[in-house]
Symmetry: D2
Subunit: 379 residues, 4 copies
């Protein structure tokens, strides 16, 4: 049976002195294995991951597993409580506009860490030991970085991202659970872990370059990319087995326990491929598609109006098909030209709808829809 620990981590002191806390669950399996770090809702309105964490807790309570799983639901409480009306304004710091998933730090690069010296010193270790040493190094660097930048205080976003990044420093697998606005299920995966990504059985995967752009997954895999590159320059090859994913679990501002059970099964299917669990979950799934990030395209509204979505998340479309229709009655000048007040916007290339705006009333230049263009079927 799993060991269960619960820790509260103070993350923000509010105006009135009350505290916001992270709640961290640590489950330890009955045999050695990797450390899996799962967090959800770094964007405050992206909530389905919490329902998935609940399903994973149920699974790990009843089933044997290898290694350690740490899980942080509502990993950005400020973002989840920051509401205007019924809307959660949880995507970015509302003072600065900084995206809560873009302030992680490329720690090896930022601290000018001398990887050659590190390898020189540790190259005789086996891969497991080397990994352990490197993880500790990453953690230490993150602490040093925090000390370096904090003499005048630490910005809210940076603190949150550093706390999470330090918690994930010892992880072999990092799953950052998000959602889109109105969205299908999809995965962000670095190119190098593409073959593993397939095991999530997600219908859609966006392949991102093996590079740092500020997100949690990138911050977690970047140090390992640098390490492997430096090792390989010296002719040393080790398995690229530290992985990090951004997992997009449908639409924001919604939880569904039915869908959460299915989402959890897909994550477990992936963890089975990593030998964390033994029995492979039985999943009925359709075709899987992927494309490089630069084929993930955004449509912007060419005029203001009320938007009716004609193609829906997960739906395929051909070039020239109408994706959405704009209604703008003020353009109506006579009953003869009733059609003047609608405009259908057509797809430029064939593709799959990944997500669309949750809004209907939009002005010119708003993001309306994001699509995979010319996706490749995974075989």
């Amino acid at each position: 049976m799993a060991t269960f620990e619960r820790t509260q981590i103070p993350i923000k002191d509010l105006t009135n002195g009350d505290k916001l806390n992270l709640t961290l669950f640590r489950l330890t399996g009955d045999r050695p294995g990797p450390h899996i770090h799962i967090q959800s809702s770094v964007h405050g309105a992206e909530l389905q991951g919490n329902a998935v964490i609940y399903e994973l807790l149920k699974y790990f309570k009843e089933n044997s597993f290898a290694g350690t799983v740490t899980m942080i639901p509502l990993a950005n409480p400020q973002a989840s409580i920051n509401k205007i009306g019924t809307a959660t304004l949880g995507r970015f710091n509302s003072i600065t506009g900084h995206n809560f998933n873009r302030n992680y730090v490329d720690i090896i690069d930022e601290m000018n860490f001398d990887l050659d010296a590190f390898i020189e010193e540790n190259k005789d270790q086996g891969w497991d030991d080397l990994k352990k040493t490197y993880k500790k190094t990453i953690f230490t660097l993150l602490k040093e970085y925090q000390d370096k930048i904090s003499p005048r205080g630490l910005s809210e976003n940076v603190k949150l991202n550093l706390v999470l990044q330090k918690l994930a420093a010892s992880a072999d697998i990092v799953l950052d659970l998000h959602t889109g606005p109105i969205a299908t299920r999809y995965l962000y995966s670095a190119e190098y872990q593409k073959q593993s990504a397939k095991y999530f059985l997600f219908p859609h995967t966006l392949l991102i370059p093996n590079e740092f752009a500020g997100a949690m997954d990138e911050a977690c895999f970047s140090p390992w990319i640098y390490l492997h590159e430096a090792l390989e320059e010296k002719g040393i090859r080790h398995p690229r087995d530290v992985e990090a994913y951004t997992v997009e679990l449908g639409s924001e501002e919604k939880i569904s326990s039915v869908e959460a059970r299915e989402d959890a099964r897909r994550i477990l299917h992936y963890l089975c491929s990593k030998k964390v669990i033994e029995e492979r979950p039985d999943i009925i799934h359709g075709d899987q598609y992927h494309c490089p990030l630069d084929q993930y395209k955004t449509y912007y509204l060419p005029q203001g109006g009320l938007v009716e979505y004609l193609k829906h998340p997960g739906e395929r479309f051909r070039a020239g098909e109408a994706l959405y229709r704009i209604l703008n009655l003020s353009k109506l000048e006579s009953l003869e030209n009733l059609e003047d007040c609608t405009l259908e916007v057509e797809a430029l290339s064939e593709g799959i709808v990944i997500n669309h705006s949750p809004a209907c009333s939009l002005g010119e230049g708003a993001e309306v829809m994001q699509v995979m263009e010319n996706p490749t079927k995974w075989v």
Copy 2:
């Protein structure tokens, strides 16, 4: 064929000097008949009425009708453009908190209008002439009221409500098209027009007292209630044929042209009962329920958490059935008591869900759900 006129009415001068305008369509039928005033989106996120106006325009283009129809889509442009992120903050003035549908004026009462003198002077007129005279009087009183209150300027809400109320002063039938948050179709009807209300064939009707509480429908029917009461005191009876409704067309921040065609047919079915059109639309409809406003009840969240809705708009429930479930993982202290982090809230009485919050992430005390309790089936 219908005559079509389009008028732009400046409604707000913006900071930079640009103007927001109302667009008013006036369609005149091929024979005399009542004046029907239709407006939508006084609450900025409640948009389906605009798609319905589009369908009504299509109908009136092709079909003969009696009287005059005026239609104002996006009747509160400031409320529809007032966005934070993708959310439309269109329910109330964001400086004052005043609901955009609660600043209409009870003009007869407000101006201390002498109804007895009015009746004395006009009692020999037939009902049609008396109505015409009274409508002009209402319009004049509204103008006088505006002059009276505006020497130091006019608040944005009051101006909007006065402009709309003046446009509706000559109407026999007023339809104020709204939506709920996530909602079914329902109608607000004053008690006195209950028999007419049935012709909308809406599944749910809330019967409001024949009183003024600041809303458009009330502001439009109040003067007529006062007139009929004063007439009846003198033993004069005329038909109570001026009617006003708040028509709730499903969920906010969404338009659906399929549903709009159905919504338009229901409105036309009602208008057919008023002899505006001749051919009764064929509508397949289910049972109709109504209840007095004081049986329309709100559930508030007893603790913070993530809400999963278990009963949906339009769905019946029995007392004791779970309406929604709250997930709050921070309450989890051990794997043994996994159920500690969910709470199901049960219905106090049997009823029908009318609407629920569009949000999932909510704090204690938020409005979660509104229901009709113990509704009566219309026979």
Copy 3:
């Protein structure tokens, strides 16, 4: 020396399970005396009262006083933490638009309390005992009311207002500390306590009717107005010595410790008149003005633009003097008519500026300025 107690009262459970709390300080003096209830920041951006509470704590630490003083700083923590950007959106519930100072309950009226029976039963008590009995009754009624309305949960605003109202039920003096937007010092006082109000030595006092309109002060004095009226009908006269004030301490989103010391001195000057303290603070003050609430007038922007305030809070003006100027460069059509892009708005009557908007960029119909017209000098 004063006895000091500190109590934390949970007031809201957040989405993530963290709690917001009220902190209540109770100071008991060295001799019997009235109970004084002081709360601040029921509107979240109105903060100076907290600095004043800090100064009062310093005073009561060092000086002898009669009775009990309870103080609640940041009495509405949700409203103070609800920020978009640097702005605190703390005036009303952002879902419903309900003003946080308008949901108190007129408890005697709401519960149809039988005052005649109460008087019959208790009329032989002396005034001190009768007050004690009545305070307990008010508290009991508030609890019963809460039970009555809460079976489907309690709205956030109603809960907060009930918690505060119950805490104040035993008070003889209630001070609800607020601020205006950009404002001078002013007081809301009921007519009946006008003579006492003068002791605050505030430059401006708005005299409100002895009626209930939903605010804290009104909710606190209403039961006593009803009691005195009922007593007087029976020919019984007791001193009207339970008082409640809304105290407006300058501008929002700002604290000043220098001004707080002066504010505290004025409150102590008032408390001295109530024999709570013995030594009257020495205060240099100017003229004091008052007017009835219906002479407190709002100016609304007649067109959009950028506003430059020409008269400032506390400043006197004559009819015809320019109060503010609007700059709107888009109106400029030629260099010859440079003055076309400015508009000066003049005062309709003589008066004193009480407050103006904190904004410069405003649209037509926004509240710009509030003034006392034709104020009366207090002699």
Copy 4:
């Protein structure tokens, strides 16, 4: 006398079909000279620049000048009308978080423009002709870029930035008028134009690297930096006389005509150094300080509370002096330790306050203050 032209440029189509427009004033002097492009309020709450434009219009109406001046007040109308309550949320796109002053394009780099070929083709031209040719090239590249990125529509921010950048493509001098939150006057100047910057006589100047980081000033000077570098590689030297500045005119959400006259005089003093006007304005000014951007430091709140600012914009402080004080009454456990509820935050190094937050109620990690550390006095 100056020639005056006024152009309206549609910039955004709103939900209801109304348009937001830029108003562009073009004044042509009585003799040849540079083109000066002035825009204000790209951040919607930063308004003082409009009052300055009004003063410049007055000056240019009455006085002779060389060249052409184009001025765009309220250059981002959407940002200026985007209000919640009285706050203008005008710093970034509220859907995406993108800062309105960070989406300009580094056009030479972005389009891989072949500068060597350009120089080869045009090197025989004199500097005036070469500049003219290069300006045209920049404009053409911007149009090509826009065509390239717009097949699926253009995001609101990108469109605005491109429209402004195209309007400024022909300018020799670009002044982008901003303000801070609560701020002193200061200037952002690229290193290369440091000597010119001094002529603004501003008390504070931040020297930014000659690099592109997305802002208007950088987008305007970058192409010229590239050109001069490429020319100099070929041994060709021309004067670096195209300049661009971000000019910070005090505090947001405020206009002052008195200060605007002073601001305008400083701008005219700079323009006099460029021979645009002949008579040098007489300005009494104090010391001028500058520092490189990396000495411009931000203080973040170490705990939540109410902030009282002890040092003010423009004020010098020594290391160890208290900059601001936090009041948090919930920390008070006994009257003995009243000082427990305040915390004074001290300066790490000596410096000058440039700006501070407009808020008082702030949570941990909020930006509180920005300072120049160890500034250098300009001699």
